[in-house]
């Protein structure tokens, strides 16, 4: 009970520190970008301006959230070691797991706030231009949040074993590969080469497959989702997040904090 309370205390102050930094200005700028781009694009489009607006809105939301998750995640723990605030924290009755979870929940709170602001703006613009909100749009927004959470965990995981620049680069590489893998599997070149197909299958098991949690195409082209697809996407993102969390906690518990 005490651990849960302390996790929330650390999360609260991490969130407060992040919120008071310039990141909030970035979120507001991204919001303005969504409004401007959606408006300009809808003006230049014939037929379905609301779809174009939603496309841009969800695109900015994804890039913004993943960007915040990766860049903030890369320094979330390392900065604590470099500035020695970590020593101040871990010399208190706080376990390493509680500290780590608190920090991550703090950043997740910021991502949730950004999702709320940017998601609401995107959907509002879509509605203003004549679109109708359905479940798929809401699920899509939630999955974008989970995608960012997954990117944050990957970055933190890398940041514990390498420096922050390298962890950003590795996460971006995994993020791009994770999105491309769904398309790659369908390539004739891959289908004709069982070895490559097996390699991609193996890659999918070990590394995150972001294409599994990306339902933007279904939203934009109004295609109904296969039965259970959203559920599976949520289960996959959650399971992979727990797997990463386990790795992060194990590494951090044994890390030499010098």
């Amino acid at each position: 009970m005490n651990s849960i309370k302390k996790t929330f205390i650390i999360a609260k102050y991490t969130f407060l520190d992040l919120l008071k930094s310039r990141i909030l200005i970035l979120i507001i700028l991204l919001g303005l970008a969504i409004l401007t781009i959606s408006y300009v694009a809808s003006e230049l489009t014939f037929g379905v301006p609301q779809k174009v607006s939603l496309d841009f809105g969800l695109g900015v939301l994804t890039l913004g959230l993943v960007g915040i998750a990766i860049f903030m995640g890369a320094t979330l723990i390392i900065k604590e070691i470099e500035s020695r605030t970590l020593y101040m924290m871990l010399s208190r009755p706080v376990s390493r797991e509680v500290f780590l979870l608190g920090k991550m929940f703090g950043l997740l709170q910021l991502l949730a706030l950004a999702t709320l602001i940017l998601g609401l703006l995107s959907i509002s613009m879509f509605v203003l231009l004549g679109g109708t909100v359905n479940d798929t749009i809401i699920y899509c927004t939630l999955l974008i949040f989970l995608e960012a959470a997954l990117a944050m965990l990957i970055t933190i995981c890398f940041s514990l074993v390498t420096n922050s620049v390298a962890s950003v680069v590795y996460t971006l590489a995994l993020y791009v590969a994770g999105h491309a893998i769904g398309e790659l599997k369908q390539f004739g070149y891959v289908l004709n080469r069982p070895f490559l197909a097996k390699f991609l299958k193996f890659y999918e098991i070990v590394f995150p497959n972001f294409s599994k949690i990306n339902i933007k195409d279904y939203v934009l082209y109004d295609v109904s989702l296969p039965h259970g697809y959203t559920q599976n996407a949520f289960i996959y993102a959650s399971a992979y997040s727990f797997f990463l969390l386990f790795i992060i906690i194990t590494v951090f518990k044994h890390k030499e904090l010098d």
Binding site: K20, Y87, M88, P93, D258
Partner: protein
């Protein structure tokens, strides 16, 4: 409060380099209710010791045994206050938010933390800046904030890593007064420094580290007394007698104000000379070397 037993630690600077030994089989003990100075030059291994003590890093061999009065497991950290070297806290939090944060994760109740924040911030003259963001604080203010954070939960063992580094003389004096105050209220204070005079001024005990080995541990007064007894230099203060003393001129005239220093072997001759010339003397004392001089002597 704790026993540091046969601790060794080596580090690798890079993959191919052979490891260098930071701590070499060191042992020392911290007595309760003392102010102990942890002395050593830069790179002597003081911070490494403190990191091992607080389980930030693990030793290659040896162990740390804490006194039962500190409790066990995470509970122990409720009774320990730590101040890291050159701290830089969350820059976008205000001073009061940071102190609240530190107090809350150490299970300090609302009333007590409010009272302690007020008390210590006034004592350390930082109360006027508590509502400002930490990024606007000067180095001295950060040190003061760090010290409050380290003692806000009323710990019984206070460990400070170079707490006075970068402070101006007034700040150093204030910190030293607070350490004495904490010690008088029954706390154990253990602080690292590379400035010997600070330790000599307020500590009753010292642990001296040199290149990863313990050079000395024990009472400072005892060390000073022993050194004084061994000292071969005597100082004579006269009532402004400015002429050379003794026929063989064994004395060194200091500042030409009637102060003379001479070697123990010349004592008899000097005393005879004083008697013969009927020189009025103020004092004749065995010169006490400073702790710094003693440490240099031990090193060499």
């Amino acid at each position: 409060m704790f026993d540091f037993i046969n601790i060794s630690k080596s580090f690798k600077t890079d993959f191919w380099a052979s490891p260098f030994t930071a701590l070499d089989d060191i042992s020392f003990k911290l007595e309760p209710h003392t102010i102990t100075g942890f002395l050593g030059a830069n790179g002597a291994g003081k911070t490494t010791c403190l990191k091992i003590l607080l389980s930030f890093i693990s030793p290659d061999s040896g162990s740390v045994i804490f006194s039962k009065s500190l409790g066990s497991g995470l509970k122990r950290f409720e009774r320990i206050g730590f101040f890291p070297e050159r701290p830089y806290f969350y820059p976008d939090l205000t001073g009061v938010e940071f102190l609240e944060f530190m107090a809350r994760i150490t299970n300090v109740g609302k009333q007590v933390r409010k009272k302690n924040i007020e008390l210590w911030s006034e004592k350390l003259k930082i109360d006027h800046a508590l509502n400002r963001k930490i990024r606007t604080y000067s180095k001295g203010m950060l040190q003061r904030l760090g010290l409050i954070a380290a003692i806000i939960h009323d710990p019984i063992l206070i460990i400070l890593d170079e707490p006075m580094a970068g402070l101006d003389p007034i700040g150093r004096k204030e910190f030293k007064d607070i350490f004495i105050q904490l010690w008088k209220s029954g706390k154990t204070v253990f602080f690292s420094s590379h400035i010997v005079s600070d330790v000599e001024e307020i500590c009753s005990k010292a642990v001296v580290l040199e290149k990863g080995k313990v050079l000395y541990q024990g009472n400072i007064d005892k060390l000073l007394l022993e050194a004084q007894n061994e000292s071969s230099i005597w100082e004579l203060k006269t009532n402004n007698y400015t002429h050379p003393i003794a026929t063989h001129n064994p004395c060194e005239v200091l500042e030409n104000k009637g102060r003379f220093q001479f070697h123990k072997t010349d004592l008899k001759e000097v005393l005879t000379y004083i008697q013969e010339k009927d020189i009025e003397i103020q004092s004749l004392t065995n010169v006490r070397p400073s702790l710094e001089e003693i440490i240099y002597k031990i090193k060499s």
